[in-house]
Symmetry: C3
Subunit: 351 residues, 3 copies
Amino acid sequence: MSLKADFTQGFVRNQWYAAGWSAEIGARPLARRILDLPVVLFRMPDGTAGALEDQCPHRLAPLSLGECADGGLRCGYHGMVFDHSGACISIPGQDVIPPTARARAYPTIERYGLVWVWTGEGAADEGLMPSVPSYGEAGWEILENGYQHHGANYRIEIENLMDPAHTTFLHKETIGNPAAKNIPVEVSRTEHGLKAFRWIENIPPTPLDRESRDFGDGRVDRQIAFHFQLPATSFVDIAVIPAGAERSDQTMNAGVRTYSYKFLTPETQSTTHFFWLHIRNFRVGDDAFNTKLRGSLEKTFDEDNVMASAIQREQERTGLRQKTALAIDRAPMMALRMIDRMVEEDQAKAA
Amino acid sequence: MSLKADFTQGFVRNQWYAAGWSAEIGARPLARRILDLPVVLFRMPDGTAGALEDQCPHRLAPLSLGECADGGLRCGYHGMVFDHSGACISIPGQDVIPPTARARAYPTIERYGLVWVWTGEGAADEGLMPSVPSYGEAGWEILENGYQHHGANYRIEIENLMDPAHTTFLHKETIGNPAAKNIPVEVSRTEHGLKAFRWIENIPPTPLDRESRDFGDGRVDRQIAFHFQLPATSFVDIAVIPAGAERSDQTMNAGVRTYSYKFLTPETQSTTHFFWLHIRNFRVGDDAFNTKLRGSLEKTFDEDNVMASAIQREQERTGLRQKTALAIDRAPMMALRMIDRMVEEDQAKAA
Amino acid sequence: MSLKADFTQGFVRNQWYAAGWSAEIGARPLARRILDLPVVLFRMPDGTAGALEDQCPHRLAPLSLGECADGGLRCGYHGMVFDHSGACISIPGQDVIPPTARARAYPTIERYGLVWVWTGEGAADEGLMPSVPSYGEAGWEILENGYQHHGANYRIEIENLMDPAHTTFLHKETIGNPAAKNIPVEVSRTEHGLKAFRWIENIPPTPLDRESRDFGDGRVDRQIAFHFQLPATSFVDIAVIPAGAERSDQTMNAGVRTYSYKFLTPETQSTTHFFWLHIRNFRVGDDAFNTKLRGSLEKTFDEDNVMASAIQREQERTGLRQKTALAIDRAPMMALRMIDRMVEEDQAKAA
């Protein structure tokens, strides 16, 4: 693992990335830079989400300055209309549509309240879509539409998200927990990534745990698992079960459980779209709790952004990643190495 | 015509450019970058407008930080005074004026309410000044002092100004007219440029036309002509005459006529000073109408600026101008080609 | 003396530079860029001022985002703690401290209300600290904590501060004095620099002089001396003594005397930290006078900053320093030459 910061490394292009929340894409087109490409998101008259290069092939006007009209996305300069396949379907004052009148289109999938785009040149593979277990099931509450703009390369974000050790210091006012720091973190491979986790065993349930499930007079085991899924998804899986109970999805779903998802979409080499989604199986329908939780999550992610952005600037200034390595770097370094390999494979595929 | 965007192309230097409105140049010197050179505009004690490189030859202080004093433009740092020829006429505390104590001077002409500067190294040729017919004649109302700062190379601005087709879409809330779009535009050469025009024939006069001239119960012909004059002047000539009448300056001046001038002065390769001047032969002296018209024009030019600036950024990002060509590109492309040729001639002259 | 502007010239590194006012460095660490290096200033538990490279050796987080805690400066990301020698004294969750876990430390001295840092690689030489005569003595009033951020290379600032001629024009509303301009300025070498001075002889004392000292019905001699001390200290020494009296420190201290110090610390090649300190031997303890004086000094230094920043931009645009030389350039040019030589010596020492 090089300790140099390498900003020439490419992105993993043949993948799905969260491009926008469904609720963001309505009557007006939305411009969003993704993997350093300008993309415009819009809806066809039937509601299908489209994603095109945000550039009219005529004079390069951003299509996002246009509007949803005349059966597609109409350029705001001369009125050319494009559908979600990128085909030009009309040119005002001209009957013949030249073959060069075409915009690059990105395949889309709308799922989990998000519009996802496939940024690769290869065929879109729906099997590569991230999956969110229990999403939409009865008894699960969803916090959605979470978005922050972060000032760091997505690798710095992934390091942060696979690193339980920083919460004690960076998040000391929100989720930091000094007591947990002496319980070792285990790291293991998963199907598409990695998890770094610890079980805190045989502790009394918190008041919130107790109020959410009946643990009797008993004690509980609490899992905190930081997951990374290639290329750029992170989630934290927190589960509270009766102490000593079997550790299965079934018992954890019967206990108190939370998934805190972050879908990272590289905007540029130095900035990241940070989409977050939170689901849980307790306090369902409790709007006051939702409001408080949303505020706390936003504050935590703001703290991460301040730190990640400062590190990004320092990496740019020095060309370095780090000067010393600590024991806590194991999971972040494994994640970075997995990204490196996937970028290489992706670029080999493209070549 | 290359479809590449070429930002290394020079400017036409041996020409006059609008540098500032006369009303802007008063007691205090005015800094303005012109063709990528810093210029300071000021007045000599007798009122003559001067234009110097905005740089004191001593320590390079911008002369625009000084003041009009001691018989010329006095540097704000050590008090050296320069006249409009660029000669240093006094140095505080020193009797001898070294020959290197001299600022580059640009020849000026004050006309049409504007101070014009000659930016070339060659002799200033007054015959190359733009002319504005009917300016200052009785029966013509003048809207002057129009200025906007636009975020695009002047070529993108010229494309826009020679392109009647975009008004339907970009200016749909002001001057856009969906009905006109099917009447073909003719393009012809003029003495120093090009015009793209159409006559809309045998239509009823608008209420404004009728109120301005007595067209009886008759119908009218309406001309809209987009003119380009090398290197960077545009004007739209709108005339309304009785249907079928002879199409001469005489009949058009007897009808309802408007000239909408734009004098474009490149500031840098990516920005343009947009001076606008509007004259008309109706509603003379009507201040309420003037106010409304000024607001409408400013809004229209703002819309052009938003689009042109976005295209500038996209040209810079991609190094391209366009990816497909349409029928409506004819006049803009002819204008760009004329500019290209003039730049080549200008550079050959300089070499 | 080249008339070119050379921004590749290094700084004099083996020297002390003012880094911050003591009052600025309290409970929270302070980030400040010095000689183009990021520095964090903080206090150890015993109050000692520390100065480290503002970068954690682990993931390059700016240490200034951390806090003074756990016996040193604690990184805000993972809690590593550093003392003022740069040694890491603890790593949460890890007993062994790797030898690479170390931050670059800069030697500090706290004097004259300022924390000074030694920026060189060589051994810190306390003998090179600037000295401020009469500082802290009874009968002298101190105005401290003066700070401005200036937008110019420190050489442009030094030129300005060794140049009495500009005050007539640039500071015409504050300290400018048209009458003084015809009295010649003498220039002489001092131990570590240069002074440019003039005595205005046999003039009536000002009302302020008369109120501060009893000059009887007599007239006075007034010295204005602009001092430069390598590498980047300037002070103006103003003294009023009875006309014809001996010109010694003793007589001047018995008269009305002022030292106006500026400690310039290069931030980058194009910006400078401008620390100012003013001491005087009259109107001691007069807070109303202090307030008025502080305002007047700030205004004067603002004027210098506007001019110096504009010259910086013009030097960057053109690559030049000046195009003509005047008689008044003698002292500034001598100062620049002394800086040039010292940079060369400093770089030879480093090599």
